[in-house]
Point group: C2
Chain length 226, copies 2
DNA sequence: CTTAATTGCGTTATTATGACGCAAACATAC
DNA sequence: GTATGTTTGCGTCATAATAACGCAATTAAG
């Protein structure tokens, strides 16, 4: 496999915006770079696209090998092209975003895992390269997507309660949503099914445990947050 | 400007899905290739990204120089990465879609303009490369976008009537929309303003002429087609 | 001055939404 | 066992949005 046009080609990086929901807040997995440029700066985990790789292959390489993540939702975000986005020379970034459940993430599994840390999205450190713009686009995309498509579940355990899902939506969107109307909308969508079990332990009423309904045909629902 | 990572880099093509509204139908501008690969096949107009170019620069180069288009709406669509999408070797495609008003397009202005032709989207010829998938993604995007964002106007003249806009929406979405409810929704959105003039010539009642309201603050409207 | 077609405006039944009330469930304290 | 404080689950109701129409005004042609 080889490139073929007579002009020189830019480098192509794949950068990942990895979202996780922790302690009631939307978090981002950032990497502390060990080498220049942006040494000791926080950046999005990424890698250069290899000649034989699909974008998804590179994403999997980063998520699995470098970070030690096995289960994730992955979607292409946007491609970035600023001429000066990498001080080493011309480098495009084809960026993806991933949704993971942090509980299934052991921080020691991957090659980079020790240099990686969760940050709440509302309290991010300065980011190297143009990664702040990438994060901004990713947040906008996630907030738009979660209103109409069933992606919230990707950030939770397989079994979850409606109050948990409700708090997740409030954290992601940054607004407060009426608990009872939220329940009605989500249940009417058919995307979640009760398991019959209840989450025990709390000192108040034990909420029902639900699961994502994999059997349902994909469709939009409308959460209509104003 | 130069690439810098130690591995060879893939070629990066920019491919354009150019939409136009002609004779009551949504059309696509396709290019008949003069050289291999896919000689004599219809393809999306495109070019290779040059080292100093932004994606938009390449898009403008294609639209202005090659096709002779001056006014257009342009938005990044998606990036494509199949290993075999170009028989010459590894080539990514960062694709954009453009909305233009075909009436403002003289088919002789650009370098490629003579090899270019409009095709209704529901009757496309076989396309070279992976351009059929790109078109499919573009159609999906346009149909989703036109429901909530004011992009329909980009396909019409500056001055247009509500029946024209109505037919455009029906053509793009491929569904029939109640004329009177459509009028109400669009007018309530505030995105169009009456000029006070009427389109003359028809043998029936002359419809009012409207313009896109550039002064309005961007917001979503909900056309809610089911 | 009809006729046929299209535009613009309006009505109404139905549905969806937002803002709540309230009892059931649970652990803890008494 | 009973009371208390808190959260969950279910339901109500006024209001807004929607879908499905009716109908008169407007125009050129007959």
């Amino acid at each position: 496999m080889h490139a073929f046009n007579k002009y020189p080609n830019p480098s192509v990086a794949i950068d990942l915006v990895v979202f996780g929901y922790r302690e009631g807040k939307l978090n981002l997995l950032l990497l502390n770079r060990k080498e220049a440029p942006f040494q000791h700066s926080w950046t999005l985990p990424g890698a250069f696209l290899q000649m034989e790789e699909l974008f998804q292959d590179t994403c999997h390489r980063i998520l699995r090998t470098k970070l030690g993540l096995e289960r994730f939702y992955l979607e292409q975000l946007y491609s970035f092209d600023a001429l000066d986005r990498d001080p080493r020379g011309r480098a495009l970034s084809v960026s993806y975003y991933a949704l993971i459940n942090p509980a299934s993430y052991t921080t020691t599994a991957g090659a980079m895992a020790n240099d990686v840390q969760w940050f709440p999205t509302e309290d991010l450190p300065p980011l190297g390269f143009d990664h702040a713009s990438i994060v901004s686009v990713a947040l906008k995309r996630l907030r738009a997507k979660i209103l109409y498509h069933p992606v919230g579940f990707e950030l939770l355990e397989e079994a979850f309660t409606l109050p948990e899902l409700h708090q997740l939506y409030e954290a992601v969107l940054g607004v407060s949503i009426d608990r009872r109307n939220f329940r009605r909308k989500i249940l009417e969508s058919g995307y979640i099914i009760a398991t019959g079990q209840k989450r025990t332990g709390a000192k108040n009423r034990h909420p029902d445990i639900y699961q994502f309904n994999k059997a349902i045909t994909p469709h939009q629902f409308h959460l209509n947050i104003s």
